[in-house]
């Protein structure tokens, strides 16, 4: 190895950085076009005029330089539900540069960022929106006199100002959002009165704007849920269950689609909205009528294309219902997707997702759908698929498979980590080999399944056609003896008596509680606990070297779960202190010997539970539970920002 070799390899690396030649060509065409325009005009016009036209040319060029694609060409590259709110209802959220603002029913507005989850507005509000520069929030709340009012909170100085207040208690405000320049608020004003017999009637529904400089109110049209379109001098809104684009210059209107609650992306390119359709299907001789609900996106400028970005499925026929007696069955979808909101960079949509089944536990979630102009590669498809399997996002896992099995997610042993091993082609079929590790909580068992995923091209890039199981290696502890099972052959690795006494707890009545395996370093990690739970040790055993190491020891602490990352260099640990009854999560860095306390990253958030969920290759996804709900975070030990945690 010499310097020349390093330089040769650097040149090889250069070739591995892909160049977007499509962009190169399209930009070149624009420069050509511009030159042609400019020259044509130059011949005909005087110098002063030429200058003006050239300026127009530059402006025209600027407007068109940033490449953009139609809505239908956008690819869904990831989908993750990262907040579970349980039975607490959330309203329309807002996002700016990774910070999410969530109104929780009757509780106020919360800020979810890398530092935790904190209430920032006490007033109970059903919705919140943020200005395009991220400095102001607009929200609607009731005044002490029982009227509706629109408030603005300045995030820099923390001041809250009431902008307008309803004239009586029958007038309600909703859907308040900022104009792209931040100078106006567009909102819905509705007069809702009780009917003579029962229920309520919307007597009036206006889309208004209020100018924040002079508080002048202007009615734009009838309808609701209006948003301005950046650079468009237009609004998009809902009227009679239709999404409408209105040109404010000539007042012309165009129906984009049937749907509700449109949201225009901050760059002005796309509209996201809820769409409701009735679909009829025949399932086992039963006519099933499904009230289908999904989120769609459409173009805001050309208004020509649309695309569905969620995948909903019908609720299953309730168990116990005799199928032979049912001729017609009307059902809803398993999930309700609603209130789509764009991220500040216009590249993701946040959607509230409600599980329409009366079960215990978490029913309402906040989901993020990431869109891209790039297609997913086979490796990326398999990565996203395995991630969806681990976080039990069944519907997204199904999007990535051609023929998805009815039951996809198993609860125990549960998957805890994945690794992409290699990729290639068999004949002309692309494949990706990946491993998925499974564990039982509080049990000395883990397994690593290797599978080959075969893919074919699809609208998002690739789709998984089939999965071939390659091999499974299992590790199990039984009565103090550790075994490896491969190809149905059980091999004893070691027993408790072989573990050096000095690293075992003092009390000899011990048992193993949990174990995990790193294929990369051929090492198993396990915990040994005294039967009285007074001492616990985390120990590793390098199977090749037959070497034991003490990772850490705890007192009065129970370790129900440990997870090693794909490189074998980091171990995530869930620890319950028996005295304080508090959980904590740690990450051990075997290179530096450091122990990182994940709970300590949240100074102003009252955490009830914290638990490592899974390793996304080399990033740890963990969850914190608060009284308001559960939130996901990422800890990435390899990145320079490793002192911080990030939201997904």
């Amino acid at each position: 190895m010499d310097e020349k070799r390093i330089e040769e390899n650097l040149n090889k690396l250069k070739d591995l950085i892909p160049v977007n030649y499509q962009l190169k060509e399209s930009l070149k065409k624009r420069f050509y076009r511009n030159r042609w325009k400019k020259m044509g005009v130059a011949i005909a016009a005087a110098a002063a005029v030429l200058l003006m036209v050239f300026s127009f040319g530059i402006k025209h060029l600027q407007d068109n330089l940033i490449t953009k694609v139609n809505a239908e060409e956008l690819k869904i590259i990831n989908q993750i539900s990262f907040i579970s709110l349980g039975k607490i209802n959330a309203g329309k959220i807002a996002e700016y540069n990774g910070t999410i603002y969530i109104p929780l029913h009757d509780k106020g507005i919360y800020k979810y960022d890398s530092k935790g989850f904190k209430k920032i507005i006490d007033k109970p509000a059903g919705e919140v929106a943020i200005s395009t520069n991220g400095t102001k929030l607009v929200f609607i709340a009731n005044t002490s006199a029982g009227k509706n009012a629109i408030y603005i909170k300045d995030l820099n100085d923390g001041k809250e100002n009431k902008i307008i207040e309803s004239k009586d208690s029958d007038t309600y405000y909703s859907d308040a959002t900022f104009s792209p320049d931040g100078n106006k608020i567009i909102y819905t004003e509705q007069v809702i009165v009780p009917r003579e017999t029962h229920g309520f009637e919307v007597k009036e529904s206006n889309i208004n704007t209020v100018d924040l400089k002079n508080l002048k109110i202007t009615k734009l049209t009838d309808g609701c849920c209006g948003s301005f379109v950046k650079n468009g001098d237009a609004i998009v809104f809902e009227r009679d269950n239709k999404i409408i684009y209105k040109n404010l210059k000539d007042s012309s209107e165009k129906i984009i689609d049937e749907g509700k609650r449109p949201s225009v992306s901050p760059n002005g390119y796309y509209i996201a909205y809820e769409k409701y359709e009735i679909k009829n299907e025949k399932v086992e001789d039963v006519n099933v009528r499904i009230n289908m609900n999904n989120i769609w996106i459409a173009d805001a400028s050309s208004l020509t294309t649309k695309k569905q970005v969620t995948l909903n499925v019908p609720k299953s026929v309730p168990p116990g219902m005799p199928k032979e007696e049912i001729q017609n069955y009307v059902t809803d979808t398993l999930y309700s997707y609603y209130w789509p909101v764009w991220s500040s960079d216009s590249r993701s949509i946040f959607v509230l997702k409600n599980l329409n089944e009366d079960i215990r536990g978490n029913t309402m979630q906040l989901m993020k759908i990431e869109l891209s102009r790039e297609e997913l590669t086979p490796e990326e498809v398999v990565k996203k698929f395995l991630q969806a399997i681990i976080v039990r996002d069944k519907d997204f896992a199904r999007v990535l498979m051609k023929n998805s099995p009815a039951i996809m997610i198993v609860s125990n042993p549960h998957p805890v980590a994945y690794e992409i091993l290699e990729s290639g082609t068999e004949g002309s079929t692309p494949y990706v080999d990946a491993s998925l590790s499974y564990e039982y909580s509080m049990n000395g068992y883990c397994s690593v399944d290797k599978s080959r995923y075969y893919l074919s091209p699809s609208e998002n890039g690739y789709i998984i056609d089939s999965i071939k199981h390659l091999e499974t290696v299992e590790f199990i502890e039984k009565k103090g003896t550790f075994y490896k099972i491969e190809n149905n052959v059980k091999t004893k690795l070691f027993d408790k008596g072989e573990i050096p006494k000095e690293i075992l707890p003092d009390n000899l009545n011990t048992h193993a509680t949990t174990l995990t395996y790193s294929p990369k370093t051929n090492t198993i990690f396990f915990t040994i606990q005294t039967d009285d739970r007074s001492q616990t040790r985390i120990i590793s055993n390098n199977i090749s070297k037959k070497e034991f190491k003490l990772i850490d020891s705890f007192e009065n602490t129970f370790i129900p779960d440990i997870k090693v990352d794909s490189s074998g260099k980091y171990l995530a640990v869930l620890a319950y202190n028996n005295t304080s009854q508090q959980s904590n999560a740690y990450v051990y860095n075997f290179k530096t010997g450091e122990r990182i306390n994940l709970k300590a990253k949240f100074k102003n958030t009252k955490i009830e539970e914290i638990s490592p969920r899974f390793w996304q290759q080399d990033k740890l996804i963990f969850q914190i539970s608060l009284k308001e709900g559960s939130l996901y975070y990422i800890y990435d030990p390899y990145k320079p920002y490793k002192d911080e945690v990030l939201i997904p």
Binding site: N9, K14, V19, N20, L27, L65, I66, G134, P640
Partner: protein, 162 residues
């Protein structure tokens, strides 16, 4: 002048693209930033007297900084590295251990040294061109490059030894 701009564009697009992509780490932002860089270059190209390549890469550097300031709420120069240098090389599952170790070694270098590697080897700039961008003498750049390569050699050897 416009014709020569097209030649200039043709000659430099790939280098600028690689330079930006390596720093930014995702294609979407890279596409937008590269478009922005050439838009700025197009507007000002006729006023350039000398060293158009150094000038173009200065635009690139500033556009990337502006992008972070605008989109990531980053104000300090140091923080920019927090969002930089993702593994963007094609064929991630490269089995060649030497290349793999070289990648890891590059990412473990200080930010300024990664920048020099990017300019010299991925953007294909000469020592003189780099000296104009980072405002050091040509000899100083030459020396720096030599030292970085030596450092990389030692890191790669260490990595290969496991």
């Amino acid at each position: 002048m416009v014709e020569s701009f097209l030649e200039f564009y043709e000659k430099n697009f790939d280098d600028v693209y690689r330079y930006v992509y390596f720093k930014i780490g995702n294609k979407w932002d890279t596409d937008d930033i590269v478009s922005e860089i050439f838009k700025k270059a197009y507007e000002k190209y006729k006023s350039i007297k000398s060293n158009p390549r150094s000038w173009l890469f200065s635009i690139a550097k500033n556009t990337i900084t502006d992008h972070y300031r605008k989109n990531k709420n980053v104000t300090l120069e140091d923080n920019i590295s927090y969002f930089s240098y993702h593994d963007i090389f094609e064929n991630k599952f490269e089995k060649e251990a030497e290349i793999d170790c070289l990648k890891k070694s590059i990412y473990s270098l200080p930010k300024e040294e990664i920048e020099i590697i990017n300019l010299k080897y991925f953007a294909g700039m000469t020592h003189r061109e780099i000296s104009q961008i980072i405002q050091k003498t040509e000899d100083a750049v030459k020396m720096k490059v030599f030292r970085i390569i030596q450092k990389l050699k030692n890191l790669v050897i260490k990595c290969l030894e496991g």
